[in-house]
């Protein structure tokens, strides 16, 4: 080894050691300073989450859960994203009626389509549940899965929420985004378990929540495999309900799609009650949480009397069972991500 080489090596060593020292410092100070849930105010709700994750991930601890069993299930409407003034999937359906109207001249004179096109919500309301189902069928079926997926992505890119004037996919809860990331960083696999349509969520959930399409459980219609006119296979969406992933359907959907019982679940309404019960009733460490919408200034305030996202029985059960109740006004520093961040 000549002198030049020696000098070179010495310099490398010094640089490397400095690097290691610096990394060590940075790492430690990052650990000390970084809060994985910065949009959560300090309090019982936040503490119950971080305490649970610490218990579930502490090797050798009484409540340790092996990584492959760290399944976390989240409702979507009202839990991960806003659900007012109407479920966003309904807003999509209404917008689609307008978008599809040029191909359906008969809608100008046929209810309930006419009412929607005329923005006559009173006439539309008069068409009742039957009218709603007609709108859902017209906008969600009679097309291939690929065509529907394109329609959904077209809508998420262009539609704006009437109050916040932002894309619907930006009206997601920043504290819940942090919670999803925090759980994943701790070895959890995060799933959506929603009453909403599975095909409506899958096109955008990966980009918006970091949850891949195969980790989405939702309601579905019958889909049929067939060959198109050119002999190319396609999947056609039929006007027939297959599965309703709501209420007692949620633990059933979890069993069918995930095949393991979650150890962590979050919801916000009575439609999540059975999912929370199923999650909480398993052995070992368990977390059940409810988002309570209490902030009409920054978002919305609703619970027992609401037609959308009614929180009544699940609230009573949460009190009785000592589940975590997140009070948005009290517990969340921010509601939505900064505009344009998504």
């Amino acid at each position: 080894m000549n002198d030049e080489m020696r000098r070179f090596l010495r310099r490398c060593t010094t640089v490397a050691l400095l690097g290691i020292l610096l990394c060590g410092f940075a790492g430690r100070s990052a650990l000390a300073q970084s809060d994985p849930l910065p949009s959560w105010n300090e309090g019982a709700a936040k503490k119950s989450i971080t305490d649970f994750v610490a218990r579930a991930t502490t090797q050798g601890g009484a409540d340790f859960v092996p990584a492959d069993q760290r399944i976390a299930a989240f409702d979507n409407d009202g839990t991960l994203w806003c659900e007012q003034p109407v479920y966003f999937q309904l807003a999509f359906a209404f917008d689609q009626v307008k978008a599809m109207a040029p191909q359906h001249p008969e809608w100008k004179t046929t209810q309930p389509f006419k009412a929607l096109l005329d923005r006559d919500m009173k006439a539309f309301a008069a068409s009742g549940e039957k009218g709603l189902l007609q709108i859902m069928a017209a906008t969600h079926t009679g097309m291939t899965t690929d065509e529907f997926s394109k329609a959904v992505l077209g809508w998420t890119a262009s539609a704006r929420h009437p109050r916040f004037n932002r894309p619907y996919t930006e009206l997601i809860y920043q504290p819940m985004l942090e919670l999803l990331a925090y759980l994943r960083a701790n070895g959890f696999k995060t799933f959506i378990v929603s009453g909403g349509g599975i095909e409506f969520m899958r096109p955008w959930v990966e980009k918006v929540y970091g949850i891949p399409p195969e980790q989405v459980v939702g309601s579905s219609g019958i889909v049929k495999f067939q060959m198109d006119a050119n002999g190319k296979p396609e999947l056609m969406k039929l006007d027939k309900i297959e599965f309703v992933d709501d209420g007692p359907g949620k633990p059933v959907g979890i069993n069918r799609f995930i095949g393991r019982r979650p150890i962590f679940a979050f919801g916000n309404s009575d439609g999540d009650l059975q999912m929370l019960q199923w999650t909480a009733a398993g052995p070992g460490a368990r977390f059940a949480g409810i988002v309570h919408h209490t902030d009409e200034v920054r978002e919305y305030a609703y619970d027992r009397q609401s037609k959308i996202g009614k929180l009544d029985k699940a609230w009573d059960e949460a009190e009785r069972r000592n589940w975590t109740i997140v009070d948005i006004k009290r517990d969340w520093k921010t509601i939505f991500p900064e505009a344009g961040r998504r």
Copy 2:
């Protein structure tokens, strides 16, 4: 920096450099020597697999596929494990009738149970499809999902295959285990898409194939959420078919459970035809493969005339479309893993 420190640093550098050099050598020689598919004979089938994986994973190449779209779907019966002399799930059902008989004294005098208990296969055959459905209902329903899972694991631990005298979960194909691992090492997510029961597979697939329960698509019965006598939630398996994941049901099941079209699929029978068509018809790089059972000495030989795992239309389509056809006798060095390895 004093001399001692300098000497120490120099020693560190030398050791580190040696380490890097050694790693480099070891890495290169490991790469040069290690064959990810050692149980596959060299030939067109093996080459079509490794060529496809190279194309799909070469960044900047014309056929590059981003990791999140590398979905691989495998049939189970006859593709990942043996399916003769009867589908293993049927063997489970027959064994369960014997195991459950003490709790069902009436079976001693009731067909088709009596025939099975008497080992009178002629009488059992006479009961036809109706008899088979009765056996499936009695052994697969009227119990909770937890109870069923325990029964399956009891059976996989104790039952032995009549010809090979080994646990059924050891009668898996070593070359396919290597293929699953090879795909996963190349960023693929591996799924089972089987006509078999989803609840029958999930308890053991992770240990046996390295595929987690949530990556299993299969046939299913209706499951009901209810509270047991102690007010504890449970999922009860009802005697009603929910979904048949076979033939045209396979692309439907893929759409419902995975939500993305696979780029790689392997099957062995006409029940896999539509899954292979659906996979092959997508844009970009695609792989469709069929296992042809040609080795009656080491395993079984059957195709167009077989009642189990009939391979007829899918074979013709494979020839027409230039899909990969694996001839077990010619292409596989070994069939099953060494005894006791699993």
